[in-house]
Symmetry: C2
Subunit: 338 residues, 2 copies
DNA sequence: ATGAAAGCGCTAACAG
DNA sequence: CTGTTAGCGCTTTCAT
């Protein structure tokens, strides 16, 4: 059996209340008693039992974090932000991966409540009605992070994807491009992709060009590679000079195809991505892209929760984080209009 | 205040023991009583308080995981393995990142003990005497994972890096290469790098060649790029045909340099990596490399801990996981001896 | 400044 | 099968 507060009290010849007081520094204790207690703690190697403490104080100092898959890079960045800020406030995080299963998400939500977490952050890629319902009727501090959908019913923080897409378009247009393709994905119901498409169309309209939207069914590298042929055709037919891809993976896949077919990026055509995945800065040419601040997303989420927990004034209702354009090599100024 | 077991008992008109019994299914309960309890739980939305439960049962069902940095890809893979297996046994994990600080590691270790975790897995990149001491004198189930160092004093699982390096050398030699460079890093004290060097030297000796070891100070991409000149020189002078890099990042950096200087991989020279980072399968040419099974490392670690916890017979003392060679495009058969 | 005692929510004997 | 009771280890009144 581990050493308890009683053992310390006995050795120090004081009551357990006194021991508690020196541990928590909650009430004045005479120097002499304090000394004895400290000494007893030292010799016994006493470590307070947080479980018992939680039971009485009703503070677990635990934040539950349910993610889609911790193995995904952007998720681990979010978690990193959560963890680092949580730590500053003395909070630990308890982590679960749902692997995109709605039932699992709900199960974990409940499980975490039973563990008395003081707040829950859910990082999901699906919209889960049951979760929405559960959160509404339970009263834990909650934050919902979803990089694909906006769920206005839940407290969340979003990224300003529309403005990011607009920024990229401005950049491309500044570079002299006019015939710009936007490579998007099939699942058009993704709210956020919709916003990006809108920004793209508006930008094209602003320079009096018709949008050239190319849809693909697969938004991984493979999809980017396979659409290469079509892009080359468009280059011949319509004289396109730049391709803005809705995902970095797509851009890399496309550049692979271009490379394999002797087309040079950015000399023959410019390619822009979205996401700033790891490879983006490693691939040759390095990829001009949009960087989403996932670390900050996590950090701000937990900070909001923590502030509520400690009763600090809450900031504005809904935060929208700005997104950065990362200028690299894959996009280039156009010298002459084709 | 949340609804407790008492509320349920009252509504169901039974004692709290009976409620406890149906919750835990620990003792027979009459159908009628059970029905009433279940109904009461339902209407009240009762969720047991795990903290209170832990206090009496002395089972927290928590495993502490202290990692170097959850943002690193290999770390998140390990955590994924831990989490997924832990889940199967009903264990949650509580996660902390130490960012390589020895004091922090120790602090977290203690913190987790106070939270009554039943086991701790430490994923570190440093060797920390204090941790070793602490673990020795405390009696939590423990597992130490370090991809750079072997610390035989602590329970751990290692990867068979020596055999992996040997395997790669065999592969290269099978391809007809003889003048093979091993690109290693400066910090030679890294036990695991030592093993790889040994395997390399043995392989070279076995074909009667002198080892050609190139050391660099920076094992990131940048380092690989900068050493490119030297590699090209060796190619001219000694006719080397393959470079085995101790890290994928190095290999990618080197291939960048080669690409920038018009040298084709694998036609002009073969490049092999180590680690199978994400980029390895995306970069062109795709990188032939060694894949370390980090997911498995996590999975097996926690499984060992869990088995001890539930008193199952423990397997062999020290597990050494095999490592796979991933054959891709960056290494090629040599047609003629130069 | 300090101790006694109550109680956090729950499980586990112990009677019955 | 069921209720009563005694804690688990700790914080927190309430006296003193």
């Amino acid at each position: 059996m581990a050493v308890t507060i009683k053992d310390v009290a006995k050795l120090a010849q004081v009551s357990i209340s006194t021991v508690s007081r020196v541990i928590n520094d909650s009430k004045p204790v005479s120097p002499e008693a304090r000394r004895r207690v400290l000494h007893a703690i030292e010799t016994l190697g006493y470590e307070p039992n947080e479980v018992a403490r939680s039971l009485v104080t009703k503070k677990s100092n635990l934040i539950g974090v349910i993610v889609d898959d911790i193995g995904r890079a952007y998720v681990s960045q979010i978690v990193r932000g959560i963890e680092e800020i949580g730590r500053m406030y003395g909070y630990d995080i308890i982590l679960s991966s749902s692997y995109g299963d709605a039932e699992t998400e709900l199960k974990f939500l409940q499980l975490m409540k039973t563990k008395q977490v003081e707040g829950i952050i859910l990082v999901s890629e699906i919209v889960n009605e049951k979760v929405v319902d559960y959160i509404k009727k339970t009263k834990v501090e909650f934050m919902y992070l979803n990089r694909y959908y906006n769920v206005p019913e839940l407290p969340t923080i979003s990224l300003d994807n529309k403005r990011a897409a607009a920024k990229m378009m401005d950049y491309l247009i500044d570079l002299g491009h006019r015939k710009i393709v936007y490579l998007t994905q099939e699942k058009l119901d993704l709210a956020i992709e919709q916003e990006k498409i809108k920004a793209y169309k508006e930008a094209m309209a602003s320079i009096g060009e018709d949008p050239i939207l190319v849809q693909i069914d697969n938004y991984l590298m493979d999809g980017g590679y396979k659409i290469g042929r079509e892009i080359l055709r468009l280059k011949e037919e319509k004289g396109i000079t730049a391709v803005f891809c809705c995902h970095d993976e797509l851009a890399i896949g496309l550049m692979n195809y271009l490379y394999d077919n002797g087309v040079h990026v950015p000399d023959d055509i410019s390619v822009a991505g979205y996401g700033d995945i790891n490879v983006a800065s490693i691939y040759r040419p390095t990829l001009t892209t949009i960087k989403e601040p996932f670390y900050d997303l996590g950090a701000i989420s937990i900070r909001k929760i923590l502030k509520k927990l400690i009763g600090e004034p809450i900031d504005e209702a809904h935060i929208v984080l700005p997104i950065r354009l990362i200028e690299r090599e894959s996009c280039k100024k156009i010298s002459q209009e084709a």
